[in-house]
């Protein structure tokens, strides 16, 4: 089921592309993922070199899962490299 709930059992609405992005992170925890990698993981094709749409989706995803989106702790930005999903994943 494609559902995101907070620890307080509150359902968080999520779009399909944001869900795909989250899945990409959850399947590659504690790894730095570049924009290109993320685009490939979410859309399944090579993206144009300066595609920023991942950044937009990412900021929206942060708004949903971070306690404070301005100071992200779950998805960190790696300078020049991409993004890092910090928590350990349990199945």
């Amino acid at each position: 089921m494609r559902e995101l709930t907070s620890p307080e059992q509150v359902l968080m609405p999520l779009t399909a592309s944001q869900f795909d992005l989250l899945v990409a992170f959850v399947e590659h925890p504690q790894q730095v993922l570049s924009r290109d990698q993320l685009l490939e993981l979410t859309k399944g094709y090579e993206a144009a070199p300066f595609d920023r749409s991942v950044d937009v989706q990412l900021s929206r995803l942060r708004r949903k899962i971070e306690a404070d989106p301005k100071v992200p702790t779950l998805i960190k930005t790696v300078r020049g490299g991409g993004y890092l999903f910090t928590p350990a994943v349990e199945r």
Binding site: S6, E8, Q9, V10, L11, M12, P13, L14, T15, V56, R60, R63, K64, P69
Partner: protein, 452 residues
């Protein structure tokens, strides 16, 4: 001012309290009155005995020493003196003491065999004995006059305590305590009686929002059980009706779609390329209309269960989606707001409202605010607005302000109807108001629940 309380509990409490309290008050009054008269009689007769003794002693005393004796007899508990004439009857005498006066009068007549006059002290004239006044007579005092053999009158004034009910505060205390007890019991009883009715009312309200609400348990008084039974039957019939209708629309839509698919295949064989394209465009339009109609029919009977979800995030996501499609949509409000409702239903409602705003009003300013009793979502646009007389009408299914039925600018007139049905299922409403800076506001008020 309203004389009756609005709530049934209040009314029943009032009736019970008023009835029981007055009954108790009357009983208490009768009891006290009886006790009062009895005690007055006892005191009165005791006093009469003293009067007899004084008269006997005076008869034995030589006339020269009588005045001296009277002076000695005067004290806090007895006033006595000799006057030439009996005191005038006061205009009003305490009616409840008539029995006492009668008893004292007959006792004195039997004992003394002289003219006897017993009456209340005239509260305006005061004591007939100018002096000595060592005892202060009160308005409850009695005046006794005995006709002496020499034609003069021996006057006695009783002390005040014969008739006064000194412990009157006790009655007040008991009345208050009793009233309080009756009031509390009445509230309890009224609550017990009205609770099933309250539950019934709440269930009826729920049913208005959710046709699939479970039937009510038939409990309470016989009348109430009957009402609940009738209500449950009505709900069942309505549910059946709505389900039948939805099923019918769904069946028609489905069958039409099958035909439409066949038609689409046939359109491929139209030789004229332009005509073929137009035919396919018409069919696309038909398909869209069918989909929308089906969605509306389903909205009424949709079985989505309420869950806790983030309403603020739902609105922000919606705004993002519109912004991604290059629409001017902004969001203003908290980033998080937990709400218990049906997210898919509400998503569709807000999507329709925002879609209308950007389509007819070029932009949508969405804001979310937590009010005292409701959660308020406002969608502002910059369009020409809707004339006041048409504002209620736009929520009617298939009503369109644009008469051209132009598919390019919108649907078939179900967007607002779907939105309103969805909002009403959440105990809310939509109002359309003018925006002072130009444009219009669609104000959605959702019922606030505990926990948000």
């Amino acid at each position: 001012m309203r004389l009756l309380p609005g709530r049934l509990t209040g009314r029943i409490t009032l009736i019970l309290t008023a009835g029981l309290f007055s009954a108790q008050a009357i009983a208490l009054w009768l009891f006290i009155h009886d006790r009062l008269v009895t005690s007055m009689k006892v005191f009165g007769l005791l006093f009469a005995d003293r009067v007899v003794t004084v008269v006997d002693v005076l008869d034995e005393t030589p006339p020269a020493e009588q005045a001296k004796l009277l002076q000695v007899l005067n004290g806090p508990s007895l006033q006595v003196g000799i006057l030439d004439a009996p005191p005038a009857k006061p205009e009003r005498e305490a009616w409840h003491a008539e029995e006492v006066r009668q008893a004292v009068r007959s006792r004195l007549q039997i004992e003394l065999a002289r003219p006897v006059q017993v009456q209340d002290l005239d509260r305006w004239a005061g004591s007939p004995l100018a002096e000595p006044t060592s005892a202060i007579p009160s308005r409850q005092s009695m005046v006794i006059a005995i006709g002496q053999p020499d034609g003069r009158w021996l006057i006695f004034v009783t002390p005040s305590n014969i008739a006064s009910l000194r412990r009157s505060w006790r009655i007040g205390f008991w009345l208050l305590t009793m009233g309080l007890a009756i009031w509390l019991i009445s509230i309890w009883a009224a609550r017990r009686v009205t609770q099933p009715i309250m539950r019934f009312a709440i269930a009826a309200e729920q049913f208005g929002q959710d046709i699939n609400a479970p039937p009510l348990p038939e409990t309470g008084s016989r009348e109430l059980r009957q009402s609940i039974q009738a209500f449950n039957q009505m709900q069942e019939r309505l549910r059946q009706l709505v389900n039948d209708r939805t099923f019918m629309i769904a069946a028609i839509s489905h069958d039409l779609r099958t035909v439409l698919t066949r038609l689409r295949l046939r359109a491929e064989f139209i030789e004229d390329a332009e005509q073929a394209q137009k035919a396919i465009a018409d069919m696309d339009q038909m398909q869209a209309m069918l989909t929308e109609t089906l969605a509306f029919a389903r909205a009424e009977s949709m079985t989505e269960a309420p869950v806790r979800f983030d309403l603020a995030e739902l609105l922000q996501s919606l705004c993002d989606d519109f912004a991604d499609a290059n629409q001017r949509v902004t969001y203003d409000g908290p980033t998080r707001l937990t709400y218990v409702g049906r997210p898919t239903t509400l998503h569709r409602a807000f999507m329709n409202l925002i879609h209308n705003a950007v389509t007819y009003g070029s932009e949508a300013d969405v804001s979310l605010a937590l009010k005292e009793k409701s959660v308020q979502v406002t969608i502002g646009d910059r369009g020409p607005g809707i004339p006041a007389e048409l504002r209620a009408k736009v929520f009617t299914p298939f009503f369109r302000l644009e008469q051209s039925r132009n598919r390019e600018t919108g649907g078939i007139g179900l967007g607002l109807a779907v939105a309103q049905a969805a909002i009403q299922r959440h105990g809310g409403n939509i109002t359309l108001t003018e925006r002072s800076e130009g444009g219009m506001f669609a104000v959605v008020r959702l019922r606030k629940q505990s926990g948000c």
